[in-house]
Every structure is written in C-alpha cells, then in structure tokens.
C-alpha cells in the first residue's frame, strides 16, 4: 500500500475528476436526491478503500460506474446506507435539485422513450447516451464482453429511433442538450 499522503493525493485527484460524473450517474437513476447522495458517498467510500483496484486513466470512470451500479442495486434492495457520510451533501443536493433549471436536463421525450424499452435496452442506452460511454466501457460497467454490448446497443438504438419517429437522437449524443463530455464511439 502506498504511504498515506500519496494515497490521499491519489484519492483527491480521483474524487475531483469523477465526483460530478458519479453524482450524475446516481441522480439519473434515483427518485430522491438524498438517495443519489448516499450512492455517491458509498461509491467513493469503496474507491477509497479499494484505491489500488481503481484502474488508471480512462478506466477509472467505468470502474466507478460499475461500483455505483452495484451500490444502487443494494440501495434499492433496502440494504441501507453503509456509513453515515455526506449529510451536508444530502441537504445541499435536495435544495439544489429543487431549483434545477430546464436547460440542464435531458430531453424528456428521449427519456420517456427509453423507459418504454426493455430494461436491458434501457440500461445500455443510458450508459451510452447519458454517461457517454463507448461499448468497450459499457462492457466494463456491466461485466459482459464488448462483443455482446455492440449488437445490443445497435438494436437498442434502432428501437429508440423507432419510438422517437422522425426525431431520433444522434449516435452517442442527445441533440440540443448542454452536455460537454460525451465521446463518440470509435470508427467501426
């Protein structure tokens, strides 16, 4: 294990780089802001305790999403919070979300259409459209081969396009939304 100051520095960098992404991931999948705060707290607690397991570079975010996804599953199952962390974050997040402006939300029609897909299609599309993940990264989050994700994503996109009629989202993007950090898939 690295010495404590170095470990803390590593964790501060990880936290700074990915806090918004993990919180966004949780907010988009929970009904209550305080639940999203709990999922975020627990996810970073796992990261703190398993820092040696966090992949370097671009691999960190899918790893954190994978932890957040499992944390969320446990949360929904009623396992409750693992540590009473982030009380102030819970309070601030509840107020901040109440004041959320319309220009910083995803398109409601796309979100509604995704809910009409199967859970499997919905999840892979959420990871692609909301989190901006490439199929390879989605595979890491879900723990399945990329070769399985690619056709699944392709089918899910087709189904979403069919539901949206003449106004489909562009590949890898939601049109007219102020997202800045969504990456395109690689050339295939």
């Amino acid at each position: 294990m690295r010495d404590i100051p170095a470990r803390e520095d590593d964790f501060r960098r990880l936290y700074a780089a990915h806090f918004d992404a993990v919180l966004g991931f949780a907010l988009r999948r929970t009904d209550r802001p305080e639940d999203a705060a709990d999922v975020t707290s627990d996810t970073f607690l796992v990261a703190w305790r398993r820092l040696a397991h966090v992949p370097p570079g671009d691999g960190a975010r899918p790893w954190l999403y994978g932890v957040a996804r499992r944390t969320l599953a446990n949360h929904r199952r009623g396992d409750g919070r693992r540590a009473a962390l982030g009380e102030r974050l819970r309070l601030q997040l509840t107020h901040a979300m109440a004041d959320l402006a319309d220009e910083v939300v995803h398109r409601a029609d796309v979100t509604a259409a995704m809910k009409r897909l199967s859970a499997r299609d919905e999840e892979v599309l959420q990871l692609h459209l909301w989190e901006g993940l490439e199929p390879r990264e989605i595979a890491e989050v879900l723990g399945i081969p990329a070769a399985v994700v690619r056709p699944r994503l392709s089918r899910a996109r087709s189904r979403l396009r069919a539901l949206l009629g003449n106004d489909p989202p562009a590949a890898g993007h939601l049109p007219a939304e102020p997202v800045t950090a969504i990456r395109k898939e690689g050339h295939r």
């Binding site: 404590i4 970073f44 599953a73 601030q92 997040l93 939300v105 499997r120 070769a147 189904r159 050339h187």
Partner: protein
Amino acid sequence: MNRTITDAGVAGLALHEGRAELLEEIMTLAPVETPDPATVPRRRRVLPVLAAAAAVAAMVAGAAWLGVQRDEPGRDLGPATAGSPDHGTGDRAVLALPGWLLDNVDDAKQDGELSYRKGDQELDVHWRPADQYDGYVADRDDIGPSVEVDLLGRASLMWAYGKRDHTVIRPVEKGLTLEVRGTGMSRAAFLDLLGDLRLVDEAGLAEHVRVTERVSPEDRVYQAPPVPVLITADGWQPQVDDDGGVWWRGPDGARLSPAWIGGVDDPFTYDRYLDNTNREEIRILGKRTLLTDWKEGGEHYRVVATSPLVGDTILVLEAAGMGRAAFLDVVRSAAVVPDGEYERVVRAAID
C-alpha cells in the same frame, strides 16, 4: 425523479461545501480493503446467471397449442374456454423452457419485467397497470397494423417491428396488462414461444425467480450456441463469465470474444461495418468472412464476421491487442465440432 439531469447540470449544482465535506469524511476512515458491493438482486437487476434447463423444465406444464394456430394472423381466438390448455393462473407471466436464461428481473408489483435470453434470441415479458393499456396500444400502432393472436388464452394484439422482432399486448386481466416481445426469432418461433409462457401470481413469480437462482452453477451457466464452434489453436482455452457468455483466453492474456448475431444476411452489409473502408474478405469455417479492424480507446480491435452459419445468424469473433497474423491464426483455427464435444469442453471451463 421526473427530470433527468445532464452532466453539465450536475457540474452547475451548488454543492461546494457538501462535496468538500464528504471528501474529508471519507479520508478520515481507515483505508481498509473491503469487498466490492455484490451484484445481487435489486428492483431492476441483472442476475448473475439464471434459468437452469432442468429446474425450469420442472415448471413447464405444456401449453404448446399456440403453435398450431400460428399461421392464422388476424384471427380472434377469444378467451380461454373449457378444454384449453392450462395456462396457469395469475396476472403476470413467466417462461419455463429449457435453454432460456432469465437474465434480468424487475419484480415491481405494478410495472415489472422479466428478460430471457437464448443465444441471440431475447424474450421480454412486461406487466403494467390497467390504465397503461390504451397508451401502449396506441404507441405500438405507430409500428404498423396489428393482428390478433392468442396469448395465454386471450385474444391479443401483435405487431412486427421487423421480420425477427415482434411484440404482443394482452388485454387487461386482474388489473394488469401483459406485453411480450421476442427478438432474434421468426414470427413462427415467437408464436411457438408464447405457448410456453405460464401465468403466475406474485408468489408464483417470486418462486420462479427463487428456483432459477437456486440451481447448480453448472446448469446455470451453460448455454448451447447456435453452432458448436471451438477455437483449436494451441494455448487457447474457453472461459465462461457470470452471464453465461463464452469467450477465449489465449497466450499472454490475449482474449477472443464470440458473438452470435441474427438477422444478418451478409456480413458485408452489417451496419457495424458499413462505414469502415478497412475491410477484407477471407474464409473461415468454410464461409466467406469479413475481416476488419479499428482503433477505439487506445486499443486496436480486430474482428471477423462470417457469412450466416445457420439461418441468417452470423458469428462475430472480436479481439483486442493482437497482431494481424496472430489474430488470423486464431480465428482460422475455429472449427465446428459435435454438440457433445462442445458442451464437454465448455462445461469443463465452468467453475
């Protein structure tokens, strides 16, 4: 949450103190290595591995009579009558058929879903509150005209998203409406499969999920592929992941992932490759095969996609981090073997 926030929206939230305080709170805790949160049941969850052929078969009570009526579109079969097969009782439905994996469960009381998979075929069973029936029917009418078919003893509406993608909605019964969607299978196969569904109540659903989770690891994960293909190159061994998927590990950590894709007449027209000019034709498994490669996320991917090996199902073999010659050596070692040999080799790889 009614509105789905973007990452840009998250970055703009006034959370500075809460965010900073959480960071300090976490770092006051001992950095003790703890297990990752387990991937286990949740409201909408991916089960590690699920339906076992043997366990599920015990729940099948027949109900295959739909098959004989599958080529009569537009026919109103009416409600179940005396003498009809036993569809079970309840307001939701489960599939109890060997070879099908239950790989996703959303067991909400009013709006839930089960997702089954067999190779490239998928079957999704939804149940929804009665007041959503009209909305979903109107939505599906955008697909095109519906035809009436029987679903669990009730005249129901079926639409075709494509020649291998159909969905059917059953009228409200006991406060819930059912929708069943089959992908990766013909219309006839879909209608056949509907005959293997069984109605269950809430307790029956829980039992179905419980039984499928209880089966032995070996039965849970083995899935027969559309065609039994083994990699025979030296140093390559099959691996089976929690989802039941088979992949191959080679020397120096090399990895080859197969995927069976249905509904593709010709790999050269498969949409994944349409915009890729770096394509070459080779022969594998005696078939015309497309070889292509690309870079993504710093990795160099190489892929071959065969002409249909069975029906309109193609085999895609994908690897990352391998040179062209090594990749060709591996994929050219692919061989069709007897079913029993494939099963023996793959089962040996299951923990």
